[in-house]
Structure formats: structure tokens, C-alpha cells
Symmetry: C2
Subunit: 375 residues, 2 copies
């Protein structure tokens, strides 16, 4: 395999290093803005040098963001090249464009590192679907949020201090919005549901709430009730209807989700024969991410394209009712639904997920967390 | 694929049911002691009917135990048939015989369901090894022991009551020795290490301690110190030397291992690029186990043989020193190594794993549990 590598940042450099000693693949050209000299590959500032090199059969996209990543990936596939990417935003947002194109062109398109970093999550979903129907995917998919929430829980520090610590350690970016507002988790959930259920979820029908407004006093309230707060994603299919949402969720202390420390991920599926399976590991970082990029390259070599066929477009309906913990804002509509107080915060009677997220949209300073469902 | 199925018990019946609707494989003949009529397969009491049917390309062994399972599997491979099995005892004990034979005959030999039941553990180890070196495998591999320990922890019930409950629910057998003495975990650890490290561990060099002698008072002591007791397996390789052992181990409350409930498994690997990865799921049961048997059949169809090449024979040396909790027996040698007491029990200074297991062999009524290593 002869690889054109787009980007030489955290992930790109990791891929370059992992590929270097391998006999079955070679990074031939690297697209990079900087002037750079590499032992084994030519460096270019011009994507066309990769696109028009007929000896390059596979493009590894490691520049991130929507543009020009999407345009490069589309051009690569149109030129008959396989694409391997870790770019969750691009895959989630342009799924309806990228998947049909890959199938039409007969090229391989893989993105295992886009969800769960070093965990073989999408590739295992692919394996699971050889036998069984997946009814549920979801879990803790963002290491930044988990690190912040875990720090707050363990030490009682406030959100700002925990975020600053995460930034100092390289777990959060200077602008952490994509992580703390749940957008990263939302992208990963969409991709997981698309692969797990063989559909294409309408992104805009999937509500998302993040952790930006959580306070140390919220954590104290959770602890007093034996709960640990995690940013959880959930997608379910049953009898042809689909639900999906991302929101802070209270997990009883001692459960598996509540026990996920620092920046780890824990991603779960439920299958109709294997039951519940969960996967725990490093959801980000140079080598874990590069590891699954190289795994995808090996699978391309072995003739494995995307994880599933492109499926029907699906709009999510979240009818399920949950009780929510709400702090930071209130109004008559919320007070009418109040069941009790935890400290100064409101705990609602069961309300629909749809209603709660609409209310949150109108109260951008509020924090919400779903209570666990009694099972 | 035309399958000869050996056994029609829990696993065999599950395999039959999962294969029935599939177009890519068919159970042609079933070996079963009982008189049985099946819609889609001929039933025989005579293994030769399967062995000598040239249209059968794959034998699924689901009778369990060492004999005649080993003899049937060897004969099947000698007749050029693939073998898929969930039989951990047979694979662990006859590894040095079965693996070279499969390689010599050029047949596929797979046993994913033998470790972790419904978890794709061995198949994921196979994938991991395409890229990285595995330095550690292990975890909670026996659902029966986890169920007993979890019940004791949650309710304070004694060992006998927890075992009786496990038996009533079908999680433990009438004679639970293989599970509670750690033998089942020991077999699974050997197979995991053999696949993960690409070696063949000398079984007799791997010490094992079980949970048979644990008392409700031990659990009280652990709780008082914020610990949860789990039966853990561990195998490590470093710089060409190998350690491996099975023993009850204290996990700090709130850690992932401590949070594994009821009869679930949690199996972990450490790789040099992906980091720590853990896999959680149903380690036993009809459909989870049958699920991975059928996955193996699909992999045989796709030309995938064993997970790794047969590797060199390795004797384990457990030099590591750990502190142990010891109850139920004592003597001068133990008292000399005492650091402190938890209730009536002794907690030792760090002693070698080798020494502790030798001492335990001489005190068969004792219970030991390793304290967590300070990291």
C-alpha cells in the first residue's frame, strides 16, 4: 500500500511513525503546511501532488475539521483512492455524501479511529453485525469531558479549574467548546448508530447537552445522592423507530460507567445474541488514534471497505420520559414539573427528552443531567 | 460451510439455532448421545459418521471436557476438517498438540468462545497483534466466581449461600470445583497469554488460587478497607521473561474491576501503542458462547486460521513481590512475614507470588488475596 498522508500534526505524525517499520505499507507523500524534511516521504504543500500521483492508492486524512478535509477526501475517492480518516466531524456531517461515493467508486473508506480512538469499536460493530442485530450503542465517548467531570468528582474543584488542568495536560483545547458542549460526542454517536444500525441518522434530530455549566455545587448534590455524573451518549432502535441523544447523566456509584477514570472512554453495544458488550480504552491521543488508522489501512489491504452498507435516512424521535436534575436557571414551566429539590436544584418528574432539551435551548445558562432509569 | 456438530447441550443447541437461518453455513450432522430428531440435520451416536462424511468441512466441538473431545478434534483435523471449539480445558491442556497439528494439516482451528464467552477477546487479540506488542493480558474471566463474590459483597451472605444461589440460577455447576478453585480462569489465562504473546506457557509453572475458602468475615474486612475482592488472572511479558498467575485480588472500590457485577467478565490487554483496552461482557451462557462459535465459523469461511503462529515453550517465573491478605490458617513462617492484621486475618509484607502459593499449597484450608500494587 502506498499512502498519501494529509496532515502531520498529532495523528499524522503518529501514523507516519507506526507505518515506517512496516513492510506492507509506505507513506509516500505528506501534505503539510510547514516546510519539513522526512526520511521516507516527500513533503508537499499542494494536495494535487498526492491526488495526481497514480502510485498512491490510499489517502490517510489527518488534518481534521470539515474543510478542506471533505473536498480532499471526495477528490481522492473520485480518483479511485481508498480513504482512511480519524475525522469524526467530517464523517458524521457528510455521511450521506461520503458513503454513497465510496460505494459508487468501489474504494475502501474506513474511520475506526474516529470513535473511541484506540478502541477497535467500529471494527467490532462490523464484526457483531455479521451475526446479530444491534439494539443499542452509546457510552462515554469524550475523554476531555470525562477528565473534567472525574477531576471535579474526586477533588471537589470547580469547572474552571478542572478545565484549566485538562488544558495544561493537553486533554482539552484552548477553545474547548466542541468537547464540553457535547458536539464531539454527538458526532461519535451519529457514526456509531449509523454503523451499528445500518442507517443514516438525521443529525439535527439528535439533541445534545454538554457540561459547560456544571458547578462544584452540582457535584456535591450528586455525591450526596450516591451518583456520579458522566456525559453519556445513547442511541437505540426498536421495531423500526430510533431514539438518540447526548446528555450529562447520573450513574449510581459502583456501576461500570461511574468507575471510568480520567480521560478514558467506555463504549457499549447491546446485541440480541451476545448481550451487552462494553469497550474501555484511550479515546484519543497520538498513538492510540494512529494505531486504529493503521489497522484500517491493513483492513483496506485485505479488501475490507466500509463497516456496513449505506442505509436509509432516519429521523430520531425521543419519546422516552426521564427525570432530570436542573440547576442554573428555572421558570414556571420547570417548577410545574418539579418533583423535589436537591440543594437549590430542581429534580423533575419524568418529562420527555424532547421537552427537556427544548427547555434547555431557551435557558443556555442552565445545566441538566438525566437521572438513571429504574430498571 | 458444512458443519458436523459434536454435542447438543447448552452450547451445541445454541450453535444449531444460530446457524439455522444462515445461508453461508449449515449443520449437516449432530453427534449426540440422546435419541433426537432435528429438522435440518441428521443425528448420530457415532463420531465416525461425521469423520467419514467428506462433505463436512468443519467440526464444531461442543461436548466439553478433555476426552473424547481431544481425540475427536485430532481425528477431524487429520481428516482435513477445520475445528471450532469453545473448550478452554482442551485448548489449554493440549495446546502443544493441537496447534502444530492444525498448522501441519493446513486447517483452521479457532476457539474464540473459549475465553470470555460472548466477548470477541481472542479475535481482538489477533487484530491487536497485527500492529503492536502485547505486554499484559488478564482480568475477570470467570462469571461464576464473580457472581459469588459480588453476592457476598452486596448482601453480606456467606460463601455457601452465594454458591447455592449461583447453582439455583444455573451460573454454577453441581460440582463447582473447576470454577471456584480457579481452574477455569487458569485455562483461559493460558490461552490468552499464548495468543497474546505468541508463546506456549508451561501450565504447571502458572500458580492458581481460588475462592473456595472465603468467608463472610473476609468480605467485612475488605469492605472496612475500601476494597472489593475479585478473582483476577494476570500474565505479563517483559524483555523475554514471563509471569502469570491466578489469585483473588483486592481492587479499590470505584475502580473498573471492582465495579464488575453479577456474572460478567472484564478482560484487559495492554499494548505498546493502543495502551490499555478492556472488554466487558457475558463470559458464558448459551447464546453469547454460541455467538462466538458462529463468528469463528465465519472467520474460517474467510480463510482465517488460528490467531497467531505456534510459539516457543515458556516457563513462567513469578519474581514479583506482593502483600497478601491471609485467613483461615497461619503458622510461624506466615507470622514472621506479618505486617499487620485486618480483623483476625494476617496482611503480609511483600512476599514473592511463588512463596505465597507454595505456602497455600501446604495450607489447603486457607484463603489468600493479593493487595493492589501501589502504582
Amino acid at each position: 500500500m502506498r499512502i498519501g498522508l494529509l496532515g502531520f500534526g498529532t495523528v499524522g505524525k503518529g501514523v507516519y511513525k507506526l507505518v515506517a517499520p512496516r513492510a506492507d505499507m509506505q507513506v509516500v507523500r505528506v501534505l503539510c503546511r510547514r516546510d519539513l524534511e522526512l526520511d521516507d516521504a516527500a513533503v508537499t504543500h499542494n494536495f494535487d501532488d498526492i491526488l495526481n500521483d497514480p502510485t498512491i492508492d490510499t489517502v490517510v486524512e489527518a488534518i481534521g475539521g470539515l474543510h478542506p478535509a471533505r473536498e480532499y477526501v471526495i477528490a481522492a475517492m473520485e480518483h479511485g483512492k481508498n480513504v482512511v480518516t480519524a475525522n469524526k466531524a467530517m464523517v458524521a456531517v457528510y455521511y450521506d455524501e461520503l458513503l454513497p461515493l465510496a460505494q459508487r467508486m468501489g474504494v475502501h473508506f474506513r474511520c475506526t479511529a474516529s470513535v473511541g480512538g484506540g478502541i477497535g469499536w467500529l471494527s467490532e460493530l462490523e464484526r457483531v453485525r455479521r451475526i446479530e442485530t444491534v439494539s443499542h450503542v452509546g457510552g462515554i465517548m469524550n475523554g476531555t469531558c470525562n477528565f473534567i467531570l472525574d477531576s471535579m468528582h474526586r477533588t471537589g474543584m470547580d469547572y474552571k479549574a478542572a478545565l484549566a488542568q485538562a488544558q495544561a495536560l493537553g486533554y482539552a483545547e484552548a477553545d474547548p467548546s466542541t468537547d464540553v458542549d457535547g458536539i464531539d460526542t454527538w458526532h461519535k454517536l451519529i457514526i456509531s448508530a449509523n454503523v451499528g444500525f445500518g442507517v443514516s441518522l438525521d443529525l439535527n434530530s439528535v439533541p445534545v447537552a454538554g457540561i459547560r455549566n456544571i458547578q462544584a455545587s452540582d457535584i456535591e448534590n450528586f455525591k450526596a445522592h450516591g451518583m456520579v455524573c458522566k456525559l453519556l451518549s445513547t442511541a437505540k432502535q426498536q421495531d423500526g423507530s430510533y431514539s438518540a441523544y447526548v446528555q450529562p447523566t447520573l450513574c449510581p456509584a459502583g456501576t461500570l460507567e461511574a468507575s471510568v477514570p480520567t480521560n478514558y472512554n467506555l463504549i457499549t453495544l447491546s446485541g440480541n445474541t451476545s448481550g451487552r458488550q462494553s469497550f474501555y480504552g484511550q479515546g484519543a491521543g497520538r498513538y492510540p488514534t494512529a494505531y486504529n488508522v493503521v489497522q484500517d489501512c491493513i483492513d483496506c489491504l485485505r479488501g475490507r471497505g466500509f463497516y456496513c452498507s449505506y442505509g436509509k435516512k432516519v429521523t430520531v424521535i425521543n419519546k422516552l420520559k426521564l427525570s432530570y436534575y436542573v440547576s442554573g436557571a428555572t421558570d414556571d414551566a420547570l417548577e410545574e414539573r418539579k418533583a423535589l429539590n436537591w440543594g437549590d436544584a430542581v429534580v423533575t418528574r419524568p418529562v420527555s427528552i424532547h421537552w427537556m432539551h427544548q427547555w434547555l435551548d431557551a435557558h443556555p445558562g442552565a445545566f441538566i443531567a438525566a437521572l438513571p432509569v429504574e430498571e
